[in-house]
């Protein structure tokens, strides 16, 4: 039974990691200053549906792999920490003991935490290790927009997937 559970955990995390990579790399919505990617949609969906540990590993690993593949290897450790933490915190906030939906106030709090984690995390770590405070500060508005849009879409997608594919609940661990 334990072996069965281990295989399921590995399969869930592997596929969700691939989903995060694809959402980060394939979907790019052009904006005035560059583009938005949808990694936060995948991360929020995973956090809402699969729980904190799946969210932490898949979000961190997925975004780090996307950075490696795109040729921005120097950002990979930062993405791993920031997005991993984002997934973990959102999942911890919205986690429910029973099968009911989390109340709206908790979802709102999760949204705020999501935006704060991404924007402040990237600001702090990139100004410390890669760029400068001014360059890192210039990225804050873009990160806020991306995580806010990602959170709202992730919330919508999470409900839609649960309705379209009910067995998804049995895959969570």
């Amino acid at each position: 039974m334990q072996q069965n559970r281990n295989a399921l955990k590995v399969a869930v995390v592997a596929v969700l990691t691939a989903v995060v990579v694809v959402f980060t790399m394939v979907v790019r919505i052009p904006t005035a200053k560059g583009y938005l990617n949808l990694c936060d949609v995948a991360i929020c969906f995973i956090a809402f549906t699969f729980g904190p540990w799946s969210a932490f590993i898949a979000a961190g690993l997925g975004t780090a792999l996307a950075d490696l593949i795109s040729g921005y290897a120097q950002w990979a450790p930062i993405s791993f920490v920031v997005h991993g933490l984002e997934g973990l915190l959102i999942a911890l906030i919205v986690r429910q003991k029973n099968d009911k939906e989390a109340p709206m106030i908790r979802k709102l709090l999760a949204g705020l935490v999501c935006i704060a984690t991404v924007s402040l995390g990237y600001f702090g770590l990139s100004s410390l290790f890669i760029s400068t405070v001014s360059v890192a500060a210039a990225e804050i508005p873009g990160n806020i927009a991306q995580s806010a849009v990602g959170f709202v879409l992730g919330l919508g997608v999470s409900g839609a997937v649960k309705r379209a594919y009910p067995p998804v609940r049995s895959l969570a661990w």
Partner: protein, 255 residues
Amino acid sequence: MTTSTFVAGKGWLYRFDPRAKILLMLLLCVWFFLPVHLVGLYCVVALVMFVGALNTGFSHVSKTFRSILPMLLFMVLFMPFNVRTGRPLFTLCTLTIVTEEGLLQAARLAGRFIGISYVCTLLFATTIMNEVMLALRWYRLPYKAGLVVTLAFTYIPFISDSFNQIAESHRLREADREQGRKFLQRLRDLVPTLTSALVVALRSIPNLAMSLEMRGLGLQNKRSQYHNLASYRHPFTHFLLSVIIPLVLWLLCKA
């Protein structure tokens, strides 16, 4: 979607043991934060770029540079205005615009950024992902973590293709509505595409879990491995070089 970062080549960096290469990458990343002369810093950056050009070709080096150029420009253009200390170089009335200290800091940060970018890129351009994973396993990365990354790389093209097909079908259905849609409407219209792509991906999980179970994941018996790093000769020499190179560079360039 191409997930490979490997650039085929025959240079000496390709023959360098991946375990030693990871150590060298980490030590060089640390090196860029050490207190060194600015000239020394740029000499090392030039050396790394030269080694990169010798091994992966000039086109790869220029491609990497183009990818970091926008951020680099931003850094170089705005950094000098944020540092007000030091000898003023350009003043407007009584306001100091650029100082020598600001320019030096901008140059140092830009050099560090270029150096770290090239060092990280070179590791993945000269080592196939399979060998990176084997090297990380040698550094005691848990087996399951390595398996997750390998499986994720296998599934990325499948999920990406499914996503593109689904997006195309949705676009065809809404061809007449494509014109003049607002940003929010376009975002809202993404939900069905994302939902369908996610359902396709999630449906593959039970099959994958079953195949992993059938192949004996979690059993206590030691698993056989088809790939190993035994083909790399002289690992000790490579490890020694990985430690000596940053050390010598630091002794030569320390401030």
